[in-house]
């Protein structure tokens, strides 16, 4: 089983290599791009399954790229939580790519299609790299690749709105990477290293933590931008709303989740236990406001995809607030919420995409009664909504249950209020969509048929997964329960 040790690196290298390959091939073989991307993602999925078996049986491990130990070589750190993230990435990535085939053919120019797959693979490779890297500098590099490919994907259709949304995202993203660079500069200036474990060792010897705290603050702010948490969320609604549907699914389902995972890395792996209480309270306050505001925005939005993007601001707040509880239940809730958001929100964007593919409708007003014409598509869509609205038997319920439990246990009444109110508002906007698409009388007499099987199948798989993890959350606990206990151990 020693080959498993090499799989994490391959999961970064293969997508990026295939992306380069596609960009070379694209002049003469266009159709092969899709097939190659699917094969790459299947490889990633199988690899992460192998890694899952490995970490479950043997625990986390460290891998030195080409056997150079740190501080010279690149260290890769694989624990249960990063494998959990890898699994999410592989599943959502594979599903989005399969879904893309028909959708992209319809919305993009013929010449742009290989570019699309190339960018998606770059995105996947860089997310994987970000998750597994064991030092801040590599995190920064992969973060740059991730951001660059995201901007390009948002703007890929080339129409005015998309370009503007992409540009806005670009500006915020550059600020965010500058914060990371600055933050790691601060940390390096005091500790003289960028490796996670080494930093943690050096920090213990320091007497004055001011510089370290500044560095940590900068890193967290950078990830707050990436995770679109209030008040730095302004780029998200347009970017996710205007991108092609499968891209929105990837960005909303994975990329902002990666922002939260970045926070987890900073707060627990790199610089555990250096935060004064005021920091933590401040961040919790910001996130709470974001949870409620995002939901209120979503309540009054008419464009379905932008509505879903607004709801992402609120939903990712749930995942982020758990990070700052510093407790077992809080982190469990966070990790489950990442899973919930990855599956449910991707399903929602893919569902919205199916409506756009079939009818071109983007606004809720136009979609009145569409659930009767496309019952299966909209049925899966409704399951996604149920999970976002945290209805029991979906994984959204489990995650919010844990978050609220953590807040109540610690007596953080403000957060309790935010979580409960946020949950209530999410229910309201989800039911608004449901009542619109299923119960209102349609204005137009347009004949609409069910989405094609190639789009229904990915949607169905995601809907199934949200229900599955809602009824059997234990399946996810295998990885996250010991994983969360392990990183809580770093705090001591």
């Amino acid at each position: 089983m020693s080959f498993v040790l090499h799989l994490p690196v391959l999961m970064v290298a293969v997508p990026i290599a295939v992306a380069v390959l596609i960009s070379v091939l694209l002049t003469f073989k266009r159709n092969i791009a899709f097939v190659l991307s699917v094969l790459t993602m299947i490889f990633c999925l199988i690899s992460s399954l192998f890694l899952m078996v490995k970490v479950i049986t043997e625990g986390s491990f460290v891998y030195y790229v080409s056997d150079w130990p740190p501080p010279w070589g690149i260290e890769i750190f694989i624990d249960r939580l990063s494998v959990y993230m890898l699994l999410l990435i592989a599943i959502v990535g594979l599903i989005s790519i399969i879904y893309s085939e028909l959708y992209i053919k319809k919305v993009l120019d013929h010449q742009k299609i290989p570019f699309y797959y190339m960018l998606v693979l770059f995105l996947i490779g860089s997310i994987v790299g970000f998750v597994i890297s064991g030092d801040i500098f590599n995190m920064f590099i992969f973060f740059e690749i991730l951001s660059l490919s995201s901007y390009s994907l948002v703007a890929i259709s080339g129409d005015r709105e998309a370009l503007r949304a992409g540009f806005r995202y670009l500006v915020m993203g550059i600020v965010s990477s500058l914060f990371i660079l600055l933050g790691l500069g601060f940390i390096y200036s005091v500790t003289g290293t960028l490796n996670f474990t080494q930093i943690a060792l050096r920090v213990k010897e320091l007497s004055d933590l001011t510089v370290i705290q500044t560095g940590a603050l900068l890193l967290i702010v950078a990830f707050i931008i990436e995770a679109a948490i209030f008040p730095l969320h302004v780029w998200l609604p347009k970017a996710h709303g205007k991108a092609p549907a499968p891209v929105s699914a990837l960005l909303s389902g994975l990329v902002i989740g990666i922002g939260v995972f970045g926070m987890i890395k900073v707060v627990y792996y790199i610089l555990p236990g250096v935060y004064p209480v005021s920091f933590v309270v401040f961040f919790r306050g910001l996130i709470s406001v974001g949870i409620i505001l995002g939901a209120i925005f979503a309540l009054f939005e008419n464009d379905l995809k932008i509505l879903l993007a607004q709801s992402s601001i609120s939903q990712i707040g749930f995942a982020a607030i758990g990070v700052f509880f510093f407790s077992y239940s809080g982190l469990m809730g966070s990790m489950l919420q990442l899973l919930n958001h990855a599956f449910a929100k991707s399903a929602l964007f893919l569902g919205a995409g199916a409506v756009i593919y079939k009818t071109g409708f983007r606004n809720l007003d136009e979609m009145k009664g569409i659930g009767k014409r496309m019952p299966i598509t909209m049925g899966f869509f409704a399951i996604g909504l149920a999970s976002i609205a945290s209805i029991p038997m979906t994984c959204g319920f489990v995650s919010k249950y844990y978050l609220c439990l953590a807040a109540i246990k610690q007596g953080l009444w403000g957060s309790v209020g935010a979580i409960l109110l946020g949950g209530f508002l999410s229910l309201l906007y989800c039911l608004r969509i449901i009542s619109c698409i299923f119960f209102e009388k349609p204005d137009s007499k347009v004949e609409v048929k069910e989405a094609p099987l190639k789009m229904l199948l990915p949607l169905g798989v995601l809907a199934f997964l949200t229900i599955f993890f809602g009824v059997f959350p234990r399946a996810a606990f295998v990885l996250i329960e010991p994983g969360v206990k392990e990183i809580l151990g770093f705090l001591r």
Binding site: M393, I408, S435, F439, F472, P473, E481
Partner: protein, 491 residues
């Protein structure tokens, strides 16, 4: 008490639930749809009866915990209190199926698969709530019940129905927010078989926190039981098809709210703690206010279904009042009145639906002279009304007999006043309808073009008959109700 692990409780919930999902896919096949709906109802009744016989024979509670991970347990457990509520719901569910099939065929021929799918899901969930073994399971099913009934409320798809649906959800979901808070603050109750113990909450958490929790629980469940400041959603949703207002919003859903309040007081806090906290009076006050408010509002309604809905608001507070008096006799009375209400109010709603289908009249002021045209339906309506008012030889009388002893035992004269006022007002708003039906001269002549057949008349008659039979021979029912109270008041 012997204990036993059994899969029957979860089967009694899951099997009708799965059938409910299957109904969505029946599409145009109406026969299969009706068949599946009946099968689901009959199955649940059979399983509930099986549980009853198990409880009677061995005096054991039946549970089957499914642990989903640390601190996250779903478990089902049956005791007398749960079985009592499950029995009412499943019995009336079976009775309402033929009526619903016929009614929907005549009144709402479109998307019936959706209707019966959600109808089955709602009824199964309502039974599931009463079989929950801990607060977490109870909460999960309780919220699902809200969600599943929403499509039924808006079934007509008219703007008015959609508006009513919105109001319904906002009211109930706010309640669930409070409930979730309370459930999470008492994590002891998420453990397996939490309801097997009494008074698990520790008074060490401080009297202020105890009061906060108590209020959260009461608001959470009370909104569904339509207690006073939160009762307006119930008349609003009377716009839904009659089987929904009948079975769900007069029986299953509101009963679940009452059930929740009973669980909270009897199991979560325990009679002793409630007594020492002195919050019983608070609950007496709330339920008393609800009774008066519901009756007064019912007097003013011209729409028959709205009048009946306000009467539900009024009547469903009797069990809560019986509980709040914290005396076993009053609780017995309250539970008996709950049964009365379930049987008779269902019949009254079905009568209203039958009159609507037959003549198209929904307002009380238009009903004059109907008594002669529709003698069976009108007679049933009259008997049902008398039963609810509490005439001797009906179950309502037996219930009130016990309930009225409560204030005397505990020395709360104000509660006595509420009971008397409630009974008089109830007589006014129900008997006025009977008066219009039979004795008011009609100057407009109308034609009855449709023939009501036995599938609609049978459930109406059966409900009224049950009220009479139990009124004359209340012994069996009293035995069951005594079993419930004995668990908490110790004989």
């Amino acid at each position: 008490m012997n204990q036993m692990v059994s899969m029957i409780p979860i089967t009694a919930v899951a099997l009708p639930f799965l059938i409910g999902i299957a109904i969505f896919f029946t599409g145009k096949n109406k026969k299969l749809m009706g068949f599946l709906s009946s099968i689901a109802a009959l199955l649940s009744l059979a399983l509930v009866s099986a549980l009853y016989s198990m409880l009677v024979r061995g005096n054991m509670d039946v549970c089957c915990p499914i642990c989903f991970g640390a601190g996250f347990t779903f478990c089902f457990r049956v005791d007398w209190l749960g079985l009592f509520f499950a029995g009412i719901t499943s019995l009336l569910w079976v009775a309402s199926i033929p009526y619903s099939i016929k009614y929907m065929e005549m009144k709402f021929p479109d998307s019936r698969a959706r209707f019966f799918g959600f109808f089955t899901l709602s009824a199964a969930t309502a039974i599931g709530v009463t079989m929950a073994g801990n607060m977490l399971t109870l909460f999960a099913l309780y919220e699902l019940l809200t969600i599943f009934t929403y499509p039924l409320v808006v079934h007509a798809e008219t703007p008015a129905a959609l508006k009513a649906g919105k109001k319904y959800l906002v009211y109930l979901l706010i309640g669930e927010m409070f409930l979730l808070f309370a459930v999470l603050s008492t994590p002891e109750f998420a453990g397996p078989r939490a309801f097997a113990k009494i008074g698990l909450i520790s008074s060490e958490i401080g009297s202020k926190m105890l009061l906060v929790l108590f209020c959260s629980y009461i608001v959470g469940f009370g909104i569904k039981a339509a207690i006073f400041p939160f009762s307006n959603w119930l008349p609003t949703v009377s716009i839904a098809p009659t089987p929904v207002t009948g079975l769900l919003h007069a029986v299953a859903v509101v009963n679940v709210g009452v059930y929740g309040i009973m669980r909270v007081i009897l199991n979560v806090f325990g009679i002793e703690l409630v007594r020492s906290m002195g919050v019983g009076v608070l609950l007496v006050f709330i339920s008393g206010a609800t009774i008066i408010y519901g009756s007064l509002m019912a007097l003013r309604q011209d729409d028959l279904k709205r009048r009946l809905a306000f009467s539900t608001v009024d009547y469903i507070s009797y069990p809560i009042l019986g509980l709040a008096l914290l005396s076993p006799t009053a609780l017995v009375g309250g539970l008996l009145l709950l049964v009365t209400h379930a049987f008779l109010k269902l019949s009254l709603f079905f009568c209203a639906g039958a009159i609507d289908i037959q003549t198209g009249k929904t307002k009380v002021s238009e009903l004059s002279g109907i008594g002669r045209r529709l003698p069976f339906v009108s007679t049933c309506f009259a008997i049902g009304s008398l039963g609810l008012i509490g005439m001797p030889l009906t179950l309502g009388f037996v219930g009130k007999w016990y309930l009225w002893q409560g204030p005397m035992e505990t020395g709360q004269p104000s509660a006595m006043g509420v009971l008397i006022a409630g009974a008089i007002l109830c007589a006014f708003y129900l008997l006025y309808v009977v008066y219009v039906l039979f004795f008011k001269q009609s100057n407009v002549d109308f034609v009855c073009d449709l023939q009501l057949n036995w599938t609609m008349l049978f459930p109406i008659g059966a409900g009224v008959l049950m009220g009479l039979v139990f009124g004359i021979f209340p012994k069996g029912l009293l035995l069951l109700v005594n079993n419930v109270t004995m668990c908490y008041f110790g004989g």
